[in-house]
Symmetry: C7
Subunit: 262 residues, 7 copies
């Protein structure tokens, strides 16, 4: 309960040039359940652990589709995430109405970064208490971005945010070189392994508590490019991955796409 | 009377990333009298205990109809509930005027969630000091949502909020698997049993202190679907349920609908 | 002079979820002189004790007509009451201009409730420091509502607010069952008896310090319904009631209406 | 220099439901020099003691004409009084332009009451630090109102505000019954006697330090009604009253009106 | 360095009904160099001591022409004076453009009084830290007004504000009766004598540190009235007055006006 | 680190009538490097020492041209100076566009004075932390003004502001009588001598650290008047003056003007 | 954790005339990784060390292109840099649309300086917590500017900002005279050497952690001038420079320009 000075609002620098309220907002991210994202040359996957705060709820969503080509994983304040999510949906919709094509992922990420920065520089607001992993695919290929409450956004090869996410990040760093050439299924399995690292002891991944989302740009057999739209998998849909025996090719076929990444 | 730091307003994070004012608002919900909601495949019921704060009042309402297809149960600050209730009525009305059909329950819930989140991120306002259970039925079937002062909204199978609601939640969790296939009358009886768990010792459910509300989508004998509009039952109308001997079929017939859920 | 924390403004919750400023505003109501209201099936009466703060004033009003069919009794800050009173007059006027009939009493009460709630949720304002009893008659019959600084409004059978009003409420609770079928004159006498309970020792009701107001919907002998408009009685007009020997029928006749409630 | 809590601004209630800043503003009224007002059936008089703060000033006004039919006596902050005075002048002017007749005195008083109440309920303003006695005559006869910083306004038979005004009020209460039938001149003399009661020892009323204002509705000999416009008397014009031997009829004649009140 | 309570801003009354910030602003006036004003039946003169804060400055103005018929002497914050001065110039100009004649001096003074009062009743501003003597001549003859930071304005026969101005006021009070019939030159000499009283020991009036301003309405020999416009005299122009031997008639003639006041 | 009271913002007077924040802003001026200005009957010169805060910067400007006929020397916060400088440029440009001639220097100075005063009387801003010497020439001849953070502006014969400027001012005061009739070159040399007085020991004026600016109105041989536009001299252009052997006539000729002031 | 006074916001001067919040913002710059800029007569180069805060990120950008002819290096808060960067891009775009040519570098720098100054003089904002080196080329040749959080901007020959940048600045000062005539490649090598000085022990420049940007105006063999647009080099593109054996002429040729600066 000790009161640190210079930490009352986000328009006050500490003598060391720090903005404590922004750092505290980052703590809110660490209290959300962990989410993991990994990008290969063709796909981005997001995997998340759904916290069973209330046994009575049908499900607690961690992964959200924003647009056909992009989605997010959230860690932190759910209500803040909804604000950003709605904002992103509007931006994507507006972009398509105006330009007739999907909004580039980087542009979208830049817009929420700028929006979030405002809350770190004006009195009477607070930073968003949520971190995001943004997974998308555009004409430049698949992208994975991290968004922080400070408004900072960075493109990542793989990343994890939320409670105990450091363990997941350690796994990701060890396997960093492998991701670029992973297939869709392999990526998911890497993600789930990373996710497992962050679980508290005796906890297991189950069809109830695990979510997976995939977006991709896959080269078809005839050489043309096909997008695999962002899709969230819950419940029995994640069973095969948790069981660990899915066949990449078959799974992809089930999505109606031929892949040659294996 | 100890002054916690970082808890003066809802635009200040604590060093642990918490927003105390939002948590304190949640305490206001806990001081309201308990309300219980349960959803089956065909119906959602809300049951509430009416606190007799003033013997002289005609009645103190806990359940409110928002629109033909949706209603709420409230726990917390009644005045704040009215603001949200009025807002919801306007949204439903506006939606029907614009689109010619009932507003989907999830959309409605999302709107109050977003509205409430604003009060947790702007200086000079306070979070709403009220929790809601939103019961509705739309083309996707019946829905039960919880709304919290933080702006968080979650779809639930069954839930209870308000004073001593934990006991009701324990009952609900134990019987969770039974609800999906319950008939209309059975749901009400489950709700009343859960409600009883939260009563202080020596207190009984009576026609004076008990409210019930029901909304449903029932399959008629000819195979078509009929909506049972949201309706609140007070006083003698709840006598049969409290007495415990109502016959599902008869009761439903009294509502002018044939049901095949028994 | 002890400074409670969390009680500086109405946008701060205490850790227990209370809004102290709203509770303090309720204390202002308790410092106003007592007013009593009772509703029967045909009438609502308001009775008030006029505090002789200044011997030199012509009179200090406690009962105010808002519209033909509705009036209020106030306890608390007179200046705040005027703001609400002016607001109510405008609403009633606007309603009649727009719809060609009297505003339903409940709608009117809802509007001041919503107006007052705003002052409990925005920084830089304070709650209204006044409580109201609203007495009115509309096509649904006579109504008595209580309005509190929190914005809460509740329909009551009978109620009293202001200094020492608990004694009056005790009287009202004891006689609660009798009110519904009371005649106009009997209601007034009940009100005055309740009022007397709240007087400090050695103080008596007099024509100088007592006000009475009546509004009603009375069934005439030919079976049609006639409204008795809201009217305030002061000075010699209250003499008969204080003396205690008024004859209901005569008094009603004096108002130009036949009543069959005796 | 002790700091009371809850007394920093006018939007904070104390735990007892008091608004200290409004009470402090009332203290500013008590520091102004005393003014007295008395109403009879035909006239209202205001008398005031002019404080000789600066020997070098031509005169320090205490009584001000607002409109032909109404004027004020002030006690407290002169600058605040000017704001209210200008506001009242505009209201009267606007009323006459719109309706072609003088503004009713009560309406005028209600408007400054409402204007002043705003400053007791919004942050960033302060209550007006001035009290007024408003004397006017309209078709309902002569009126005397008191205005307080809280925005409260009350019609009075006779009243005094300002420094040591309690002594004047005691005089007024003793003679309260006499005022209604007093003639114009007699009223002034009562006012001056009350004023004298509030003077500090050894101080006398003189033509330099005494102001008198009169407004009236006088019945003429032929039975018609004539208004005596609000007029302020200073210097030698008040000599006769201070001397004490003025003849009512002569004085009235000097004003060009026949009066039958003697 | 003791912190008085209730003195942080001008929207807070002390428990005694004082507004300390307004009183502190009056202290700023006392720190300006002294200015003196005297009015006769035909003229108003302003005399001022120019403080030689900086030897290098060409001159430091204390007297300013506002319009042909009016000017001011200032004591306090020069920058605040400029704001008021510019405001007055605009008002005078606007009045002449609208009405085709000079603005009455009292109207002008009322406007700055009202403008200044606003700063004593709204949060986020501060009172003007400057006092003014306003000297003007209109169809009602010559006028001298004092303006205070509180917004109070008062017409004076003679007055002095600024550092050590009490000594000058004592001189003025002693000679008060003489001023009304003084001629133009005699008035100036009285003003300079009063000014001398306020000088610190060993300091003398010189052509460098003395300013004189005169405005008047003089009766010409042929009986018509002529205005002597407001004019400031500095440097060698004040030599004759300081020397003490100026002849009224000659001086006036130099201004091109015949005067019969000697 | 002792906290003075009453010094938190510029809308609070101290009990002595001081505005500490304005005084503190004046301290910022004293931390800027020294600048000197001197006016003669025909020219104004500004000389400045350029602080070598960073060896790596090309140059640090102290003198700025505002318009053809006017320029400034700054001491204090460079960023604040830019705001004022841009404002002045816009004013000059706007004046010429509107009136077809150069803005009078005094008008320009009045405008920045008024602009700066606003920041001393409104909450939420701070005074400008910069002092200016404004040198200009208009149809009334050459002018030198000082501008202070308080908004005060004063015309000067010669002045110096910034660090250790008191020593320069002492030199200027000693030579004050000589300046009026100085020629252009002589003025510069006086300025440089004054500047030298303010240098810390062992520091010398060099072509790297010295700036000179000149603006003038010179009478040509044929009797007509020619303006010498404001021009800043840096680097080798100031060598002759620092060396001390410049010939007035030659230098002027180099500027293309004949001067007869030698 | 000691609380310095006067350092809560950027609208409060300390008694010494300092604005601590601006100084604290400058500390944020010192916590960014170091960037170096050097200008010759023909080129400006920026070199930066990319901090590997997260191993998993694809890259962390320090150098950004603003427009064809200008770019920036940043040190401090990345989110703040984005705001300024977006602003600069818009300005450049708007300038070209309006005037049909590139915005002069100094104008662009002035605009961000003015924009940043606002945040140091208005309550409720904070200074930008980022420093910039702006490198550009326009018709006046190549330019290097430093931008500070205070809004101060200065043209530099060479400079370094960020963590441990003092060591880099020392290198730059020692070699200051050499830069003007350096060729493009030589400039880069000087920049990298300066950068190395600021590295913590045992850390090396690598293709992963080093960024280089170049903009230039090069004279072609035929005597005409050609601009080398601002371009950022990362990864393998910087290998030659780090290896240290690049040939100026060849490298330039690779850019498609002939240079004669060797």
């Amino acid at each position: 309960m000790f009161r640190n000075n210079y930490d009352n609002d986000s328009v006050t620098f500490s003598p060391q040039g720090r903005i404590f309220q922004v750092e505290y907002a980052a703590e809110a991210v660490k209290q959300g359940s962990v989410v993991v994202g990994i990008a290969s040359k063709t796909h981005v996957v997001l995997v998340a652990i759904k916290r069973n705060a209330e046994e009575l709820s049908s499900y607690q969503k961690k992964l959200f589709q924003i647009d056909e080509h992009v989605g997010i994983a959230i860690a932190g304040l759910t209500s803040d995430a909804r604000v950003l999510s709605n904002f992103m949906k509007q931006q994507c919709l507006g972009h398509r109405l105006t330009y007739g094509r999907n909004m580039p992922v980087r542009s979208l990420v830049d817009m929420i970064g700028s929006k979030a920065q405002i809350n770190t520089q004006h009195y009477g607001k607070r930073p968003y208490g949520v971190g995001l992993l943004v997974a998308g695919a555009d004409e430049n290929g698949p992208h994975l971005f991290e968004f922080q409450p400070s408004g900072m956004t960075e493109e990542m090869v793989a990343f994890a945010i939320g409670a105990r996410s450091q363990m997941a990040r350690t796994y990701l760093e060890k396997n960093l070189d492998a991701f670029a050439d992973c297939g869709r299924e392999e990526l998911v399995r890497h993600g789930l392994k990373a996710l497992k690292e962050s679980l508290v002891q005796d906890k297991e991944l189950t069809v109830e508590n695990t979510s997976v989302a995939i977006v991709g740009v896959a080269k078809a057999k005839d050489g043309t490019t096909k997008m695999e739209p962002f899709k969230v998998f819950d419940g029995q849909d994640v069973n095969a991955w948790i069981g660990g025996a899915a066949d990449d090719k078959e799974a992809a076929a089930a999505e109606g796409m031929d892949v040659d990444d294996a």
